[in-house]
């Protein structure tokens, strides 16, 4: 038993002439929460579908929990759980009926299933809703139901495809508490997201763009090792100033955040504040400049080469 849950080498998948996943290498340790961060269309969902055996790769190898895909995909089924991006349980069944259905599919015995469903209903605070139809639930409740269904057979590995895209921040925070509990009990979790706050919670993070992995490390290391310093500018005429700054070679990106500009300056520039004052004529004394701690969004912007 090695301690690698997922190992993929040169994983590639095309749809016609479009390359959705391009020579992706992954090594995901057991027991971690591993995040895929990337814009829409970056290949997050396709990668998850390749790793769960829903799609067959055009080339490359995948080893999940010691099993080769796609050859041993059927053996893997009982050991993984998958929560789809779109709610895919049955809207015209009640909560309890949905869980019973999934439990039977996974071959749980009567008494085990009954006990497990009670456990899940309590854990995910759904016990009082058990006789409601799934379609009548709110976004957050649907989500918890989906997580309960995906973990009913206690999988070793859990795939979550943009699990919180349909819920509010508070529900998202609660949801992550549940994920940490699962992780604590030894479950490996692979989660895709395009929310920075969600990505920041992962133990490890891979940033994907156009089917290519741009970076992967812990969120802290990604922020610490970023190829740019972050300068915040407060002052008047920010829209014009932004255009001016973008002309400069050492400026990687400028983004307005309310009353300030967030400027990513090449790491090679040792003193970015004075350098900017020197190079940019539009900067007036009334503008305040300060180097600040990078955020994950800055890392994301650097990785995906966005210069807006």
């Amino acid at each position: 038993m090695n301690n690698i849950a997922i190992e993929a080498r040169e994983l590639t998948r095309r749809f016609g002439s479009y390359i959705a996943v391009n020579k992706l290498d992954l090594r995901i340790p057991r027991g971690t929460i591993y995040g895929f961060l990337g814009p829409n269309g970056s290949g997050k969902s396709t990668t998850i579908r390749l790793l769960t055996g829903l799609l067959t790769p055009d080339s490359g190898t995948v080893n999940i929990l010691g099993l080769q895909l796609p050859a041993q995909a059927e053996q893997l089924r009982t050991r993984i759980g998958y929560m789809t991006q779109k709610f895919s349980l049955f809207g015209d069944l009640t909560l309890q009926e949905n869980l019973q259905f999934i439990g039977r599919i996974y071959g749980l015995g009567r008494s085990v299933m009954k006990q497990r469903i009670e456990e899940l209903l309590t854990l995910y605070e759904l016990a009082d809703r058990r006789h409601l139809l799934a379609d009548e639930l709110s976004g957050g409740q649907k989500q918890r139901l989906a997580l309960a269904a995906a973990t009913i057979h206690k999988p070793e590995l859990l795939f979550l495809d943009e699990p919180t895209s349909a819920v509010d921040p508070e529900n998202r925070r609660d949801f992550w508490e549940k994920l940490f509990d699962l992780s604590d009990s030894g479950t490996t979790i692979l989660v895709s997201t395009h929310y920075m706050d969600e990505a920041e919670r992962c133990h490890y993070l891979a940033i994907l763009e156009a089917g290519v992995k741009r970076a992967d490390d812990t969120p802290q290391n990604l922020m610490a090792n970023m190829d740019a310093n972050v300068v915040e500018i407060c002052g008047p005429n920010l829209r014009q100033l932004k255009q001016q700054l973008l002309q400069l070679g050492q400026v990687k990106s400028v983004a307005q955040q309310g009353v300030q500009l967030r400027v990513l300056v090449d790491r090679a520039v040792t003193d970015p504040v004075s350098q900017l004052r020197r190079d940019c004529v539009a900067l007036q004394p009334s503008h305040q400049l300060a180097v600040v701690r990078p955020s994950l969004e800055d890392v994301f912007v650097m990785c995906t080469g966005d210069r807006s």
């Binding site: 829903l54 089924r77 993984i80 895919s88 599919i105």
Partner: protein, 368 residues
């Protein structure tokens, strides 16, 4: 002009969407084209080549000339020779022939004493299809030039006709068992096809694929509830037919249920195949209609098989409904059993097995 612009915008959008849905677009053209060509030829009440049997007890010149004359009408096609009337009746029950012409041993005597206006022979007719039986009854008064040497009053028929199974020639007796075939075709195919396509549309399939569930398990699990629904429909139709329309139920229940189960199984697998092709419930419905129309018109439910041209008969043979219409009329009205209607029974069985294999192979457990 906003009014017309907005209508034009909607119309244009509808056409664009329709042109992207290639299956629907195809159906728009194919349904009228194929079905009209098919039925334009198929719907024909001039019956020809009805399969009949012959019991020739006379074995004389007269009997041979009568047989030649009957054959010359082209209405019938003599396919069997039975030594006795009992065996001939069994042949009718089994559905081997639609009718039997019995020429008695004293045929020559009867022909000679024409003035006594005794009929020369007897037609034993399967009355379970009214159109066929009227065509055969029409032969009672056929002119027989060979034997017209002596005077024969026009009023007395040449042959006597006996209608088996539906002597009063009531329409419900003919229609009710056939209706069972049509209703089951419609509901069974449509239910299964839409049941699976709905899960595809809603995304449930994506979840099911990642579970240990196998394709065959999914297919069989889907089919079983509809088998029960089909049997319930059968019970309703036959009960209603029997108690309201006085349709005789001559067959044994086990035979009726057996025949119906075979047909339900065949229809359900057809529904499964449709569900693996159709992407939306609308497409599934259109494809069901595409199968349903020929099942109504070509299966022998409305128009007898014997009245259809060859190509239409070939298509009819490929439809499960055709075989079931034959079987269920045989079982319900003639008390035939499934083992003597072996050809139809084995067709439905084979259709189901092949269909199930195709559907399972086509429903791959992946999203590729």
């Amino acid at each position: 002009m906003g009014f017309f612009n907005r209508i034009a915008a909607i119309t244009l959008k509808e056409f664009r969407q329709l042109s992207r849905d290639r299956l629907t677009f195809g159906m728009v053209v194919m349904i009228p084209l194929i079905q009209l060509l098919l039925f334009g030829y198929a719907i024909n009440n001039n019956i020809r080549n009805i399969n009949i049997g012959l019991v020739d007890e006379a074995r004389s010149f007269a009997s041979r000339s009568i047989v030649d004359a009957v054959r010359a009408t082209q209405v019938v096609n003599i396919v069997r020779h039975y030594p006795t009337v009992q065996e001939a009746e069994a042949g009718i029950t089994a559905g081997e022939v639609r009718a039997v012409l019995v020429l008695p041993a004293n045929l020559d005597q009867r022909a000679a004493n024409a003035s006594q206006s005794q009929p020369l022979g007897q037609w034993l007719i399967d009355g379970s299809d009214n159109i066929v039986s009227s065509a055969l009854l029409g032969l009672r008064n056929m002119p027989l030039q060979e034997l017209q040497r002596s005077y024969r009053p026009q009023t007395s028929p040449v042959f006597e006709g006996v209608l088996y199974f539906n002597p009063e020639r009531r329409t419900p007796v003919n229609i009710v068992p056939g209706l069972l075939a049509v209703i089951l075709t419609m509901t069974m195919i449509l239910f299964t096809a839409t049941a699976i396509v709905r899960e595809k549309e809603r995304g449930n399939i994506e979840l099911l694929i990642t579970t240990p569930l196998r394709s065959l398990e999914l297919m069989l699990g889907k089919i079983i509830p509809f088998i029960l629904i089909g049997l319930a429909q059968m019970t309703i139709i036959l009960m209603l037919g029997h108690f309201v329309f006085d349709v005789p139920i001559n067959g044994r229940p086990i035979q009726i249920v057996g025949a119906t189960l075979l047909f339900i199984a065949a229809s359900l697998t057809l529904g499964l195949i449709i569900s693996t092709i159709a992407k939306t419930q609308l497409q599934a419905m259109q494809m069901t209609v595409f199968v349903l129309l020929p099942s109504i018109l070509l299966s022998g439910f409305l128009f007898p098989y014997e009245g259809m041209p060859r190509p239409a008969q070939y298509i009819a043979e490929a439809l499960p409904a055709t075989h079931f219409v034959r079987m269920i009329r045989g079982v319900v009205l003639r008390d035939a059993s499934l083992d003597i209607m072996r050809a139809d029974t084995s067709f439905l069985l084979g259709f189901t097995l092949v269909g199930l294999v195709i559907a399972t192979l086509k429903f791959k457990k992946s999203l590729d």
